[in-house]
Symmetry: none
């Protein structure tokens, strides 16, 4: 009788360790040895569960997407109106406090830089961004409709909002000291509200 496989458990542990090492030490220092140490595993075992380091990075991207998605799901669970859902999304991405995950944010920033020139990373990164764009666009359209506004501007507005979120992540991870405290969520909401308020009616 074979031992029960613990592969999924191990893969999770490894990815969780990679997330932490990436956030705490940066990409250069995120060696297999360092990840193994963080996970209290051995380098050999890491490679038993992941053929290459690139494969680990792919898994980490999926994990980070799930982490961000989870926060939104939690906040959106009690939202009913389009406006509430939109607010839930923005707060999930930008609000300080409960559910905030600075390590995931830092890891995401580092992956974003890797996406600049690693084609495989870029593909997954683009896919994640694409989903964000799609989701946010839907939320915006629903909100616009509920306000009786035309939805034409939703794609561009969604694009700028996604950019803002990426930028907030970047600055939170690399320039926190020079940024105002808790500036992001409230201001973004105000920007969107006023933009929509002055948008043409259908």
């Amino acid at each position: 009788m074979s031992r029960k496989s613990n592969t999924e458990q191990r893969r999770s542990e490894i990815i969780a360790a990679m997330l932490i090492v990436l956030a705490e030490q940066g990409y250069e220092r995120a060696t297999i040895q360092a990840i193994a140490k963080q996970a209290q595993l051995t380098p050999g075992l890491i490679h038993y569960h992941f053929k290459t380091k690139a494969e680990m990075l792919m898994a980490l991207i999926a994990e980070l997407s799930a982490i961000f998605q989870t926060r939104y799901a939690a906040l959106a669970s009690t939202a009913t109106t389009p406006n509430e859902k939109l607010l839930a999304y923005i707060n999930a991405r930008l609000a300080k406090g409960k559910g905030e995950n600075p390590e995931a944010v830092a890891a995401w920033v580092i992956i974003g830089a890797e996406a600049v020139k690693q084609p495989e990373v870029r593909a997954l990164y683009e896919n994640a961004i694409s989903q964000e764009l799609g989701l946010l666009q839907e939320l915006l359209k629903a909100h616009l409709k509920s306000k009786g506004k035309r939805i034409k501007s939703a794609p561009h507005l969604a694009a700028v909002m996604v950019a803002t979120m990426e930028g907030v992540f970047q600055l939170a991870s690399a320039a926190e000291a020079v940024m105002p405290k808790a500036y992001a969520a409230k201001t973004v909401i105000a920007l969107i509200d006023r933009f929509i308020e002055l948008e043409d009616h259908i």
Copy 2:
């Protein structure tokens, strides 16, 4: 007779080569060898002019700041009103077309990720962000005043705008394919205009 120094020239060449390699190949591949090859110099000579790779990175940050500053200076040179100056700034950072420098943008994104955990890089990055915040705040305040609006919201608005710019850089470098074309400058201007339009009077 002593030999004439060409250090400044060489340092410029090396930093220019580093910018290109960073933008084209990412941080991992931006080895001294690769930079030397790009600059058509030998690795030994690189180290003759820069003691360490970190020193090169510092010089590159200064160079990138200068590049961005130059584009703004060019666009602002014909601006007279506060509104024109603000538009010049946003266009300098976000508009496609003349003066655009995608390689500098990509290099900046990669440096932003390095700033997450390299303290020396972070210090320079924070300084650069801090200057952007200060400049943008002044531009916003002048514009708000000229419109008879209170200026209280300028710091948070500036912070979100800087974040947006960083995010636009990130997405332009790592997810261009999934982004709408030329979405950024126009939309950002509209967001600011409407935000200010609905802002309280002094």
Copy 3:
């Protein structure tokens, strides 16, 4: 099933190889490559077992101390009187023949020069010298007492004797050709004997 560790064995092999390379080629030529070749291992493996070259040097100093200590222990094992023990010590350090280890001596000389300016090496070297001083002082005091002589001069005498031993090592390693044959042990013993003979009684 876990693989059995051979770290201790490997570390010993590496240090033994380092000793030989140091003695045969000098410090400059004692590169990781050369040591690896001598040990029939790869450079990478050397660094798997020793994080840095400095760490190897530390281990070598400990090994050399043990080698010298062993020769003394062997000769002293049959000594019963203070005089015999003192003779055993001097012969252990200076006599030609059985138990002599010219490679260890040469390695020690080279380490002594490194101790001039490498603080970590110096600390261990000073510690080793300090132990030699202490041991020799005790042996001298016991001998003086057994002869009914005052022991006041023991510290200075021990210091000069330790210096002489270091010097004999140096000259045996770097100027053997111009030195008389087998001059050291016998002459040193005579010097000490006559010094003590003419020392004041208690």
Copy 4:
């Protein structure tokens, strides 16, 4: 009319700088660049005056020999009896105070280690040691004769004394903290005196 050659002056400056760098930083750090910096000259000029680094080392050995010789000459100038000359020699080599040159001593120790395996250095080192042996032997013989003692033991005694001096240099340079203060000259003189006192008459 050609400029007056300053080659000798420059060579002296370079060797003086090398001595200091060697004493202050050790052999590893005594690079041409470091020596050039110490001498306030350029690396290229160093190689104009010395074809290779080895040649510099040779010149330094000669310089050190001269430095040591000079101190002896100064102390011996007022000595008339064989005993006084012997004392002058021992004090020249071992006494603290006036004319002491710890940097030269440290440099000599480092060269002694290089002599272990660099044949050219070894040749000069052996030559220097050989001269010391010869000189000391003559001084001892003259002293012995004046005391009416047989001179048979002079070679071995001289050899041990030279070893002691080398060892005192070594310990002064690498283990000063653990050695008694000013132990060497006085104790060595006592050792020799008593040895000779108990030596057979002619």
